[in-house]
């Protein structure tokens, strides 16, 4: 469903290619696809409408700069408008500060508090946390367990119900600590008592930052909630959590627009290390379900350096295990294979989804197996006789079957790429799909 969206967006962009004047119909179609993609990503409907209007007007009214094709011109406008929608990246200073965490119930404040503590700790700062959630059973146990794993002091008392007192005392206990993070109870905008509580905590803690934690799956409600939180305690940063699911995080953008702040961090997993600084380009590509738009704007061919993946050699049909090794390495560094492929100038080629469905564990295993191969084997996979397979398996601590599975995957990839080169149209693609399906 969502992949189809990305595709139709790409199709719409393709229609613009080769045109010398901006075609109103093509722009309309592009804008419509963009709207669909953004609405499905939970961006506020009104924001989406404003954005698409801006893109439409600019595309039709602004002259493309000299030497820039219509497609590049429109793409650039789309990109610029999306970046504007993202807001600036939230600032993180590495110095003494008090951070107040705010957010709805179940948005992931406690987990994120521990992750942020870890972030500052790794930057070499002295960190402490205060458990200001005196309501939810187990909240203190959760936070103190997470903190003890990283040896960060955690102040709190599960038997005391006074959150204001907890924060006051916690700040006293932690004086001299560089970074103090205050976790709070989940609350929503309609709970007047709780909103008053966080206003009080903000005042008495004199917090440097007030970060709003937003679940990536939060829908249209994000705007309203963010607006109320902003009114109460002047939010100056947004954290998106649970980005390891399939949600696109568009609600966080609505929150950014309401609070006129920026996204600070992105939480993307259940371990304490799963916290990333915000990267607008990666986020846009996730929102739209298509490859890195900026890379497209800056011409994909140039953005991937020759050393990493020899696209041309691959297109010629020469695809060795070494290429695949590089590919897997690149995947590790650059994110999912799918995104890399979508950045490659392969026209309308769509590799079947199964080709990308490799678990990270399997990918690691494949790399280990390939590490046990000789240079000659990597360049000329046909050398791999069963005795060589046996040797590789022993060297890699794998079974010969696993080595053969890797070879099968390699062959499938190779065939797929050959199919691209041959470009024998639909028939060829269908055959390829079948082969992938059989894996």
């Amino acid at each position: 469903m969502l992949d189809r969206l990305g595709t139709s967006l790409k199709d719409a962009l393709k229609k613009l290619a080769g045109k010398t004047v901006v075609d109103r119909a093509a722009v309309d179609e592009l804008v419509k696809d963009l709207q669909r993609a953004l609405i499905q990503a939970d961006v506020n409907v009104k924001l989406v409408m404003a954005l698409s209007q801006a893109i439409k007007t600019r595309s039709l009214e602004e002259e493309p700069p000299k030497g820039m094709s219509v497609r590049e011109h429109v793409l650039r406008i789309v990109y610029q408008e999306l970046v504007r929608l993202m807001g600036p990246t939230g600032e993180v200073k590495l110095g003494p500060q008090v951070i107040l965490m705010a957010g709805l119930q179940g948005s992931g404040k406690t987990t994120t508090t521990a992750k942020i503590a870890r972030y500052f700790q790794r930057k070499g700062l002295r960190v402490a946390v205060i458990c200001g959630d005196t309501f939810r059973p187990g909240a203190y146990e959760q936070l103190s367990t997470l903190c003890s794993r990283i040896h960060v002091p955690c102040f709190g008392d599960p038997t005391d119900k006074d959150a204001r007192k907890m924060v006051r005392e916690g700040l006293k206990v932690h004086t001299g600590t560089e970074v103090v993070i205050i976790d709070t109870q989940g609350r929503h905008a309609l709970e007047a008592d709780l909103i008053q509580e966080i206003i009080d905590i903000n005042t008495l803690s004199n917090a440097t930052h007030r970060w709003l934690v937003i679940d990536a799956a939060l829908g249209q409600q994000a705007s309203e909630q963010a607006r109320r939180f902003h009114e109460a305690i002047d939010i100056d940063g947004v954290i998106i959590t649970k980005m390891d699911g399939t949600a696109k995080g568009g609600g966080a953008l609505s929150a950014v627009a309401e609070t006129k702040s920026g996204i600070v961090f992105i939480g993307s997993g259940e371990t304490i290390e799963d916290l990333e600084r915000f990267d607008p380009d990666g986020f846009i590509s996730r929102l739209l379900g298509m490859g890195d738009l900026r890379a497209l704007v800056e011409r994909a061919e140039e953005s991937i350096s020759e050393g990493e993946i020899d696209v041309n050699a691959m297109m010629r049909g020469k695809f060795t295990l070494r290429d695949m090794y590089k590919q897997l390495e690149a995947v590790n560094r650059m994110g999912p294979l799918k995104q890399i492929m979508s950045m490659l100038p392969m026209g309308n080629l769509e590799l079947p989804g199964e080709a990308y469905d490799m678990t990270s564990a399997k990918m690691a295993k494949y790399r280990i197996i390939m590490d046990s191969m000789t240079a000659a084997e990597l360049d000329e996979p046909s050398l791999l006789s069963s005795s060589r397979v046996q040797r590789i398996a022993i060297g890699a601590g794998a079974t010969p079957d696993e080595v053969r599975e890797l070879l099968k995957y390699y062959k499938t990839m190779k065939r797929a790429l050959k199919g691209v080169r041959g470009g024998q149209g639909k028939f060829n693609m269908q055959r390829m799909m079948k082969r992938f399906g059989g894996m």
Binding site: V45, G106, Q142, L190, A217, L218, Q220, Q221
Partner: protein, 343 residues
């Protein structure tokens, strides 16, 4: 029901717009079919003409153009209420289908046509409710209920609320602390159970959840307990190993009911994950939490439509009693009928 208030008042505005457009369109069709000035001066019109006048005066077709504007507005309202895009599109097409090509009959008000079109579309997506006490009475004890869902939707709190609800309805309950992963989860459910005076079966942090829940079922069988409520750790549907773990839990404890828990404020992803959970471990009913945060409740419509399973309860607050059985017919009636003032 606070949850749907926002959607309701806006739906009613759209309803008005639809009616207006249809009225205008019908005003244009009626008498105009007679050529102006023809009737009085000419000889009495022929038989066929008279029939035509009779028909066009009292019946007319609603064409797609007459309602495209209000339908676009309806689409925006649904989207802004978090009804997922594919579901919104389907509702719009249902309403359009129900309205266009329809003849307005003698004595039938435009209002009725519009309301019934919207009503039919919503009934179709919301389906029936689910009466939990009746289900328990009708099945062998212990009735085993497994709670699933992604992280942070409120499974643990919901388990506590349902435990309290069932206890009030005269059933005996045991809770299985199946979230052995999240720090503080066992302490959380244990504290709830203590406050409610309900037996809880728990193992250590990091234990196999299947084993915990198996023990809970064993306990229930041995002590003639009516209901086993099995809490689980939140997990994302795109994590194969965690979904496999859930599948193992299902095989081991053999639940009678699998209840999928999600939050009313979730956006388009609600559809994706509901579908994935339904596909991999199944779901018999849905509970939506945090309904007090939102006055729109589009997620209810999205999820119910996507997996075609009844909505059982709405969670509407942080207290144990903040849970209400969901009755689709009542909700739809409230959405479409009545005035906005008493909302």
């Amino acid at each position: 029901m606070g949850m749907f208030e926002g959607l309701r008042s806006r739906l009613q505005k759209i309803q008005g717009r639809l009616e207006e457009n249809i009225e205008t369109a019908s005003a244009g069709t009626g008498p105009v079919s007679l050529p102006p000035g023809a009737a009085p001066t000419d000889k009495s019109p022929g038989m066929m003409d008279r029939v035509k006048v009779l028909v066009t005066d009292r019946e007319f077709f609603i064409s797609g153009d007459d309602i495209s504007d209000p339908l676009f507005e309806l689409e925006m309202v649904l989207l802004e209420s978090d009804v997922a895009l594919p579901v919104t599109e389907e509702i719009i097409s249902l309403v359009r289908q129900n309205l266009t090509g329809q003849r307005r009959k003698i004595g039938e008000s435009v209002d009725e046509i519009v309301v019934s079109a919207l009503h039919d579309a919503l009934i179709q997506v919301l389906g029936d409710g689910f009466d939990l006490p009746a289900y328990i009475r009708g099945h062998d004890r212990p009735v085993k209920i497994l709670f699933t869902g992604v992280n942070g939707t409120g499974k643990t709190t919901t388990v506590a609320k349902i435990a309290s609800f069932l206890k009030k309805n005269g059933f005996s309950v045991v809770i299985g602390a199946g979230d052995t992963f999240r720090a503080g989860a066992i302490e959380q459910i244990d504290e709830h159970a203590r406050r409610l005076g309900i037996k809880i079966i728990q193992h250590q942090h990091g234990a196999d959840p299947s084993a915990v829940l198996f023990d809970a079922v064993q306990y229930a069988s041995a002590h003639n307990v009516d209901v086993v409520l099995a809490d689980t750790a939140g997990r994302f549907h795109n994590r194969a190993n965690l979904m496999n773990q859930l599948d193992k839990i299902r095989r081991v404890m053999k639940p009678d009911l699998i209840v999928y828990v999600d939050e009313a404020v979730a956006g388009n992803d609600a559809v994706v994950r509901a579908h994935e959970f339904e596909k991999s471990v199944g779901a018999d009913a849905v509970i939506l939490t945090k309904a007090d945060m939102d006055s729109r409740g589009g997620a209810a419509i999205s999820i119910a439509h996507t997996i075609g399973k009844p909505l059982m309860f709405l969670g509407v607050g942080q207290g144990y009693d903040d849970i209400i059985p969901f009755e689709p017919a009542t909700v739809i009636g409230e959405l479409l009928g009545g005035s906005i003032d008493d909302a």
